[in-house]
């Protein structure tokens, strides 16, 4: 299945892109996707390990099972205010 990936802040700069589309096994978890992303984009692993995950714009647990077409955002520790 295909999922859409979005990067922000440090992750956007390090990956060199804001968005990516990835072909992944059906029903994988967000955590598994993070591992695949770390393999595809060299050097992102340590920051991905600290990043929060949002699916379709909602904070979520990394164990969530993804479905085709989900938009998965990897969010570095936030620092607004």
């Amino acid at each position: 299945m295909k999922v859409r990936v979005r990067f922000f802040a440090q992750l956007r700069e390090m990956s060199g892109t804001e968005r990516a589309e990835m072909e992944v096994p059906d029903g994988i978890s967000a955590r598994h996707l993070a591992h695949l992303v770390a393999e595809k984009f060299f050097g992102l692993g340590p920051l991905l390990a600290r990043a929060g995950i949002a699916v379709n714009g909602e904070w979520t647990d990394e164990e969530i099972q993804l479905v085709a077409g989900d938009e998965v955002s990897f969010l570095p520790p936030v620092s607004g205010g």
Partner: protein, 151 residues
């Protein structure tokens, strides 16, 4: 009312949004760009956001504040883009009948914003620019637990 803006925050607009004749107390919190961070001199900040999600999270914070306190009016404006020392990056105004609930709701709103709203700041320093390492996911979970135990 919540708003992300790329322009300077207009406090007159913000205060007009929380104008309410039944409110005896209005608490206003301002976050400003500070000239130092971890002992390093900072010359400016640049903010970016996951805008759709940030707006939704701000609306959620407003809803949660209204569920917990008798809030009569609440407004949060967060500025994005580049800012200089002393610029206002965020403003939270809460109007309630009495001051104690206005203080509590305002503190809740800015504390939640700091851990829940996907906004990031980059510090512009004399030796380069650096992303500020903000709240970790663990801190977010802790904030959720605190919220649950408080409610």
């Amino acid at each position: 009312m919540v708003q992300l803006t790329r322009h300077p925050i207009d406090l007159n607009v913000l205060l007009a949004e929380v104008q309410d004749d039944g409110s005896g107390g209005v608490v206003l919190f301002l976050g400003r760009v500070r000239n130092h961070s971890n002992g390093q001199r900072v010359t400016g900040l640049s903010y970016e956001a996951f805008e759709e999600m940030a707006e939704a999270q701000l609306r959620k914070i407003e809803t949660q504040a209204r569920e917990r306190w008798p809030v009569r009016a609440l407004s949060i404006h967060h500025r994005l883009g580049e800012m200089r020392i002393g610029d206002i990056s965020v403003a939270v105004a809460v109007a309630c009948a009495h001051r104690s609930e206005a203080f509590a709701a305002c503190k809740f709103a800015i504390d939640r914003l700091k851990v829940k709203v996907p906004i990031w700041k980059k510090e512009i320093r004399e030796d380069g620019s650096f992303w500020f390492e903000g709240a970790l996911p663990d801190a977010k979970n802790q904030a959720d637990k605190n919220l649950e135990s408080a409610s």
